[in-house]
């Protein structure tokens, strides 16, 4: 564990261009101000955990990073590409950024293998044979290669979420976004998904993860962010964040979720 920790820290080079940069980002839903002056810079190989009460804008923030939501003010730069209305750039960013959703969003009319090969074949123009090999490689990594020819509806929630992770990995993204990946799962299945995410973190993937799994945050996060009322209230290393929260709102939140 110690070796992975040091190698991980060594991999993060603060002078390099950040993987993701949000500068003064604002967003409104109609009259409602969901994101207020968000500033965040994520280095390559860094793992960020975002937590906060529901409606605090944490999902909205990470959905802005691959433009599932549009921000109205400020700049978002992903891997050196700034997100604007230019469709070509949006596609470019989405190719580099994988996303895992709370409700998996697998395609129920396609088999597991087809779910994983569709985007590589049509977006990356990969030959079908090669795409299938890649898909099997990642399905083996998330430990469900034997389910490749089943449909998503035949799998358990935990298995579906692992397929969703494999599906994103098939595009070999540089950045992975997780939007409450374990919230819709039965308690028995949370661990298998978290294990997959931990192993991904150990390999040096840049990750932003919205989750309330504080054990996971302690184990893998480089920084923990607490959001409330559309703002970043507190950001710190996990140790400091959990042992010594600065803001009163953070203390209240932590006291409610840590029993």
């Amino acid at each position: 564990m110690a070796t992975t920790l040091t190698s991980r820290q060594a991999a993060i080079d603060p002078t390099a261009q950040p993987a993701i940069e949000l500068v003064d980002v604002h967003k409104w839903y109609g009259e409602f101000h969901v994101l207020r002056d968000i500033n965040l810079s994520v280095q390559r190989g860094e793992r960020i955990v975002v937590c906060g009460p529901s409606g605090s804008g944490k999902s909205t923030m990470i959905r802005c990073i691959n433009r599932l939501e549009e921000h109205q003010k400020g700049r978002i730069i992903v891997d050196g590409t700034e997100l604007t209305n230019d469709l070509k750039r949006i596609d470019e960013v989405r190719r580099e950024v994988g996303m895992v959703f709370q409700h998996f969003n697998l395609f129920p009319h396609l088999t597991i293998l087809e779910n994983c090969t569709l985007a590589p074949i049509w977006v990356k123009k990969m030959p079908k044979r090669e795409a299938e090999e890649v898909a099997m490689k990642y399905l083996t990594r998330v430990k469900i290669p034997e389910q490749a020819n089943k449909f998503p509806g035949q799998l358990s929630g935990g298995q579906q979420q692992r397929v969703a992770i494999a599906r994103s990995l098939c595009m070999s993204p540089k950045i992975m976004l997780f939007d409450e990946p374990t919230s819709a799962l039965d308690p028995e299945m949370v661990k298998e998904v978290l294990d997959t995410m931990v192993s991904l973190a150990d390999e040096g993937m840049t990750m932003i993860c919205v989750t309330h799994e504080m054990g996971f945050a302690r184990q893998v996060a480089d920084r923990v962010i607490f959001m409330d009322y559309g703002q970043i209230v507190e950001m710190n290393t996990p140790d400091a964040f959990f042992k010594n929260p600065q803001h009163e709102r953070t203390r209240l939140f932590l006291s409610q979720i840590l029993h």
């Binding site: 691959n66 989405r94 395609f107 985007a119 049509w122 977006v123 998503p152 509806g153 595009m171």
Partner: protein, 439 residues
């Protein structure tokens, strides 16, 4: 059983085996009791329905089969006075007129061409509808391009005689079209080369189609005014069905589009066409279309109602498809977008397959309605099956009391076979698609 309640501690040691259900709920007598006589009112209704069946069914069987006349060459066979017994359906009349019912007045020596058309239609439909058929992509190419082109040549005789001037114009327009495509690609910042290639592909398909239609295969010209019967009914229905689905999908996507002009155009088209009876659309297509077009340009009198029916069906189809699109969870769009699929890819691979599956019953419902509505083209003087029966039943050679009933019974049988077939097929598809992928 009461251990769990009596004491606060309980540990189950043995697994309880699954047992078969009690015997009371099975067997034919149980079925009759449960389904036909479950209450006094239900018992009464059952007896009433049986009585109705007794009153209605035997006379129908009597008319259609037992007293029916199967052979004969003129009205004498189907008249009680000459035949000497009660007369039911006069099938001899249908058999005598079957060629007219099938081909209308199509030139008799050229009817083999219609038979080839029927055969090609059957091949195309089977190829596309049989889900496990080989190379269904080629089947689609055949059904949507080769089959219509060859059918046109076969049925009309082809040889449009477009002339050299037309082809010169075509080349000029093609060049402009490809240029426009390349320019559009440049403006949209996608590859100019592929834009031009797509433009050239479209031009090539249109060009080959026109060339085939223009070429003189040595077939005699058969004007559409001679076509009739089942040929016209199937032709109108096929064109309506084949056009309405893709066009309806485009309209539905247009109606949900974020581009205001596209959306407005789709809404206006759908609401206008849906708000008008089909007969009005047909009459307008028949009498008003020529008024809008330049004087030297004429649209064939069969093509006019064809266009009308296709538009009419598309508007209905658009709303059915929109229902399916509306039912799609937002997560499917987001899942597709997050993988970097662009809009056409997302629609073709993710959204439409699922949305269309949801609305198969609605789509088939529209098809069945369309199939029967084709009989309305007789209003504008097209000799479809109903019109040929109408024309035949007043034939003095077959003047007999049951002729009209027989003709209509035949029409009912024809429409029922096709509509019931569509209905069963859609059920089969639903069941097959549902296998293994229930959410």
């Amino acid at each position: 059983m009461s251990t769990a309640i009596d004491t606060s501690r309980f540990v189950q040691h043995n697994q309880i085996e699954a047992l078969p259900p009690p015997n009371l709920a099975r067997g034919p007598i149980a079925w009759v009791r449960e389904n036909l006589f479950s209450s006094p009112l239900n018992g009464l209704l059952t007896i009433f329905v049986f009585y109705l069946l007794y009153v209605i069914v035997p006379p129908i069987i009597d008319f259609l089969f037992i007293n029916a006349v199967w052979t004969g060459t003129d009205r004498d066979a189907c008249r009680a006075e000459t035949a000497g017994h009660r007369i039911g359906a006069c099938w001899a009349f249908v058999i005598d007129k079957i060629n007219y019912f099938t081909y209308g007045s199509y030139t008799i020596s050229e009817r083999w061409r219609v038979n080839i058309f029927f055969l090609m239609l059957a091949v195309g439909v089977t190829w596309l509808l049989w889900l496990r058929a080989p190379r269904r992509d080629l089947g689609a190419l055949y059904f949507f391009w080769l089959f219509p082109t060859f059918s046109y040549v076969l049925l009309t005789g082809g040889n449009m005689d477009l002339g050299g001037g037309f082809w010169v114009g075509f080349v000029v327009v093609s060049a402009l079209f490809i240029g426009a495509f390349a320019a559009m690609a440049y403006l949209l910042k996608v590859s100019v080369k592929s834009g031009a290639a797509i433009g050239a592909g479209i031009i090539a398909v249109i060009g080959i189609t026109l060339a085939l239609m223009d070429f003189d295969f040595g077939l005699d010209h058969v004007p559409t005014s001679l076509w009739g019967g089942v040929l016209v009914t199937l032709l109108v229905a096929t064109v309506g069905i084949v056009f309405s689905l893709p066009f309806g999908i485009l309209l539905a996507l247009g109606r949900r589009s974020k581009l205001p002009i596209v959306q407005l155009a789709s809404v206006i088209f759908i609401e206008f066409v849906r708000g008008v009876p089909l007969i009005t659309v047909l009459i307008m297509a028949n009498t008003m279309l020529p008024l809008f077009l330049p004087a030297e340009m004429t649209v064939d009198r069969l093509a006019r109602p064809l266009i009308g029916v296709a538009f009419f069906a598309s508007a209905y189809m658009a709303e059915v498809v929109r229902g399916g699109l509306q039912a799609m969870p937002k997560g499917q769009y987001e899942g597709a977008m997050s993988l970097g699929l662009n809009y056409p890819q997302m629609m073709v691979f993710i959204i439409l397959p699922q949305a269309l599956r949801i609305v198969i019953p609605g789509i088939v419902n529209t098809f069945i309605g369309l199939f029967k509505d084709t009989s309305l083209v007789s209003i504008v003087g097209i000799f479809d099956l109903i019109r040929t029966i109408e024309a035949s039943r007043i034939d003095p050679n077959w003047a007999a009391p049951t002729i009209s009933y027989t003709g209509y019974a035949f029409a009912a049988f024809f429409y029922f076979v096709f509509c019931f077939g569509m209905s069963r097929y859609s059920l089969g598809v639903e069941r097959r698609l549902a296998a293994g992928q229930n959410r």
